[in-house]
Amino acid sequence: MPLTPQEVEHIAKLARLELTDEQKARYRRQLEAILEHVAKLQELDTKDVSPTASVSVGQMPLRADEPRPGLSKDDLLKNAPKQDDGQFQIPPVFE
């Protein structure tokens, strides 16, 4: 399954990853090998098979929709690389 350098760039962009040229070349090579291996799945006829998204057994009951205590704002902010005035701080999105 050949991948073009442009496809690799596109995937990295979708995944929000800045990669070096060396990484792009390496992942292109390795992804090609893995995709060639998984191409084996195409040999199975699955037109009458339904997909499995979850292997949960039994019910997944919803809990009651009632307010309850959660983590405090301080707890949630304490791991932030930057915070200001009780909020996560980020570089400007709009200039």
């Binding site: 291996h37 799945l41 199975l44 098979v49 339904s50 949960s56 057994v57 039994g58 791991n79 999105v93």
Partner: protein
């Protein structure tokens, strides 16, 4: 009395109950042992000496006669993908270096509530992606049986810690074999419960349709104690299931094993009438001959203990690897989107938010994680979704169906845990696909969501442990633990400990 760290969990419980020693003595012995071997093993990413000793003193002060099931005062270790309040959580990654979780994972909380003392967080492949712990951003863990070799992974730190007798039990997680394969490589007993049987609240997610919290211990009896303490429904994890809910506990045909104790801690004493299926697809060319030999010998021994052994077929086994390496990276690429340098972990400096995302993620994720994010993103991307992700989900149905059919004929499935014993550090360097093949025997059960256990059944000619697996229908951990326990009553593979060539000192 033998050294305190040599005691099993059950023996520790008994000793504490009879006041033969205090919890402080147990914790001190464990910490001392860790100090002596850690430079050659690197099983831990964080050691919580102070809080562990404080808790031990607390237990010693307040100890009341217990019912024999309590974990009061017992030191345990936790794989560093589970949150424990007051201890850093890294998931083996630089992208959340320094993260201090504001809460404790439910599985850990339940053990703490039963009195267990967390003495440290164990090493793991980054975000549990790997089969050797070589993908940890904080250095590889060494196998206690041969420190030039890997302990397996991704729960390699936990497996090494239990094998080296640093702790009697440790939590691991298993997405595609990450409890069972390291258990096999380190000569310990590793239980991967049914998907949903143990809450994943507080587990740093990798593949959400696959992730399970499991336990590594010296034997089935000890594993059962930990498993029972942490299983059950948790309102904080919608996929967690209360196994006592009618209709969930007895899926599959279990006529023979209905005689076995329903409670995992009341383990069975016989394999009489238990039907064990041996799937022919799990004995393949290219696997280490001794692994095959010892697994077959253990199955023969189970037969002599009363089990009825028959060959079965799980015809879609050969597709499991390909299904897994589409689905798990796809789920990982979505789960790991949250690590963007905004809410936790370090942030790469940049002028725009866009660049913060790209630089932080590009710099801080390790190479295996980047590879899987790339692979998963590709499999989910427009134009490829149906061919990869969609097809993999359909083949997953076929693999699940193989197990459903088999469990109409047999109670348990017996097979090898891994194709080889522990390999040399660096053996798969630069060849991710060859590393992925290490999981070939553990992936199918993960995809089907059924429980599995790996336990030692012998050694190869280099003195490295060999493990085999038993697999059971959903929620039949009791059958797995019972059968393993019966085997361990008549064998002593699980009692062998590595010689670390290091003075353990007196405890």
């Amino acid at each position: 009395m033998s050294k305190l760290t040599e005691l099993s969990l059950k023996e520790m419980q008994a000793g504490l109950r009879e006041s033969q020693f205090s919890s402080r003595e147990l914790v001190e012995a464990a910490l001392k042992c860790i100090e002596q071997v850690e430079s050659s093993l690197h099983a831990f990413l964080h050691i919580a000496s102070e809080s562990a000793l404080e808790q031990a003193d607390e237990v010693d002060r307040r100890r009341t006669p217990d019912d024999g099931r309590s974990l009061h005062g017992i030191p345990i270790a936790i794989k560093d993908v589970l949150a424990v309040e007051g201890m850093p959580a890294t998931a083996g990654s630089k992208i959340i270096e320094g993260f201090m979780p504001p809460y404790t994972a439910t599985a850990v909380k339940k053990l703490q509530d039963a009195g267990a003392i967390v003495i440290g967080k164990t090493n793991t492949d980054e975000f549990a992606m790997g089969s050797s712990t070589e993908n940890s951003a904080y250095g590889v863990t060494h196998n206690p049986w041969d420190t030039s070799r890997v302990p397996g992974g991704s729960s390699g730190g936990s497996a090494a810690a239990v094998a080296a007798r640093l702790v009697p039990a440790a939590l691991g997680t298993d997405t595609g074999g990450s409890v069972r394969q390291p258990a096999s490589f380190c000569g310990v007993t590793g239980l991967k419960p049914t998907y949903g049987r143990v809450s994943r609240y507080g587990l740093i997610a990798f593949g959400s349709s696959l992730d399970c919290v499991g336990v590594l211990a010296r034997d089935a009896e000890d594993a059962a104690v930990i498993f029972e303490s942490m299983a059950g429904h948790d309102p904080l994890d919608a996929t967690s299931v209360d196994s006592s809910t009618p209709g969930t506990a007895r899926r599959g045909r279990c006529t023979a094993s209905s005689r076995f104790a329903r409670s995992a801690s009341a383990l069975g004493e016989s394999l009489q009438g238990m039907k064990i299926g041996v799937p022919k697809e799990y004995f393949i060319e290219g696997m280490q001959a001794e692994v095959q030999e010892k697994t077959r010998a253990a199955i023969a021994q189970m037969e002599s203990l009363g089990a009825e052994v028959q060959e079965i077929s799980l015809p879609h086994t050969e597709y499991a690897l390909d299904v897994y390496y589409i689905l798990a990276p796809a789920e990982a690429s979505a789960n790991l989107a949250r690590f963007d340098g905004v809410r936790y972990g370090p942030r790469a400096e940049a002028d725009s938010l866009w660049d913060v995302f790209f630089k932080t993620r590009g710099e801080k994720f390790g190479s295996e994680v980047l590879r899987r994010i790339m692979l998963g993103t590709y499999a989910l991307s427009a134009g490829y979704y149906d061919a990869y992700y969609g097809q993999a989900q359909k083949v997953r149905t076929l693999i699940k169906g193989d197990f459903e059919k088999s469990f109409k004929q047999v109670d348990l499935i017996a097979c090898p845990s891994a194709p080889t014993t522990a390999f040399e550090i660096g053996a798969h360097k630069g060849d991710p696909l060859s590393m992925y093949l290490e999981d070939v025997f553990t992936l199918p059960a993960s995809l089907a969501g059924v429980p599995g256990i790996s336990f030692p059944v012998g050694f190869d000619n280099k003195g490295l442990p060999i493990g085999m697996q038993l697999l059971a229908p959903h929620f039949r951990e009791d059958a797995l633990l019972s059968a393993t326990h019966v085997y361990q009553q008549v064998t002593d593979w699980h009692k062998q400990a590595p010689d670390l060539q290091i003075s353990r000192g007196r405890s």
